[in-house]
C-alpha cells in the first residue's frame, strides 16, 4: 500500500492488495446490523443502567435513536460513495482509492461499526479476537482476518486524521 497526498484535501491510497480491496468492499454490508437483535443492541446501546430512568430511556428511543441511526447511515453512505470510485488495476488486481480528507471521520466510524456488527452477528468473544487464527476451514478465520484488517485501516485513518 502506498499513501500520497496529491493536494491539501485528498489522500490517495494506491497499490491496495486485492484481498484488502475485497475486504474494503465488504465494509458496507458488514456494518449493516440487519435484523440481528444483538448487533442492533450493541450499536444502539442503552444510555442508562438505572431502573428509575425508564422515562429517559423511552425518550431516548423515540427522539435520539432515530437521529443516531441517521448519523450512522450518513457515514456508511460516504464510505459507499468512495468505494464506488475505487479502481483496480486489471493486470495486478491492486486497487487505488481517492479519499477526501473530510471523509476520514466517516471511514473511521464505518469501520468501527463494521467491527461491532460483525462481532455481534457472529458471536465472537474477546478471546476470539486475541487468539491465534483458527484452522483455515473454520468460518471464524475469515471473520478474524476481516476484523484485523478493519482495525488496521481504522488505525491508519486515525493517523491520517492527525496529519490532516
Amino acid at each position: 500500500m502506498e499513501i500520497s497526498r496529491p493536494n491539501e484535501t485528498t489522500f490517495l491510497i494506491g497499490r491496495i492488495d486485492p484481498v484488502l480491496a475485497e475486504l474494503m468492499r465488504r465494509i458496507v454490508p458488514s456494518a449493516d446490523p440487519g435484523d440481528s437483535e444483538k448487533a442492533n443492541a450493541r450499536i444502539f446501546s442503552s444510555p442508562t443502567d438505572e431502573v428509575e430512568e425508564e422515562r429517559f430511556f423511552q425518550d431516548w428511543q423515540e427522539l435520539v435513536q432515530p437521529e443516531l441511526a441517521k448519523l450512522f447511515q450518513s457515514s456508511i453512505e460516504i464510505v459507499e460513495g468512495d468505494l464506488k470510485k475505487m479502481r483496480s488495476n486489471p493486470a495486478t488486481g491492486e486497487a487505488t482509492l481517492s479519499l477526501p480528507s473530510d471523509h476520514l471521520e466517516a471511514w473511521i466510524h464505518g469501520l468501527n461499526q463494521a467491527r461491532l456488527v460483525l462481532t455481534e452477528r457472529f458471536q465472537l468473544h474477546e478471546e476470539d479476537l486475541e487468539a491465534d487464527p483458527p484452522p483455515a476451514n473454520d468460518p471464524r478465520s475469515f471473520m478474524q482476518l476481516q476484523l484485523h484488517m478493519y482495525a488496521y485501516l481504522q488505525e491508519l485513518f486515525l493517523r491520517l486524521l492527525e496529519r490532516r
Binding site: I43, S45, P47, D49, E50, E53, F56, N112, Q113, L158
Partner: protein, 93 residues
C-alpha cells in the same frame, strides 16, 4: 483514578441539581486509539489525559469522563453514543 472534569456550578444550580456522571464502559472490540480519539474530540482533552481515561476504561472496566448538570451530561452521552461507545448517564454519589 484519572482526574474527572467537574463542571463549576453556581450556588443556585448546585442547590437544585444532583450532579450526573458521564460514564464510559469497556468494550473489547472498540480500538483503544479510537476511544482516545473520541475523548479528545468530544471533551477537548489533550492526548495524555484522553489516554489516561482510555486506560482506565480498559483496566478498570469504566471511567467517569465528566460530572455536572443533567442536561449537559445527557448531551455528552448522546455525543459519545454517536461514536458508538458504551456510555451511560449515572447519578453522582
Amino acid at each position: 483514578m484519572t482526574e474527572t472534569v467537574v463542571e463549576q456550578e453556581t450556588k443556585d444550580s448546585t442547590a437544585v441539581d444532583v450532579p450526573w456522571n458521564v460514564v464510559v464502559h469497556n468494550d473489547p472490540v472498540t480500538l483503544m486509539a479510537y476511544v482516545t480519539h473520541v475523548f479528545q474530540t468530544v471533551f477537548g482533552f489533550g492526548r495524555e489525559r484522553a489516554e489516561k481515561h482510555m486506560m482506565e476504561v480498559h483496566n478498570l472496566g469504566k471511567s467517569i469522563l465528566w460530572t455536572g448538570a443533567r442536561e449537559r451530561a445527557e448531551a455528552y452521552v448522546e455525543q459519545l453514543h454517536g461514536y458508538q461507545l458504551l456510555c451511560t448517564l449515572e447519578k453522582s454519589l
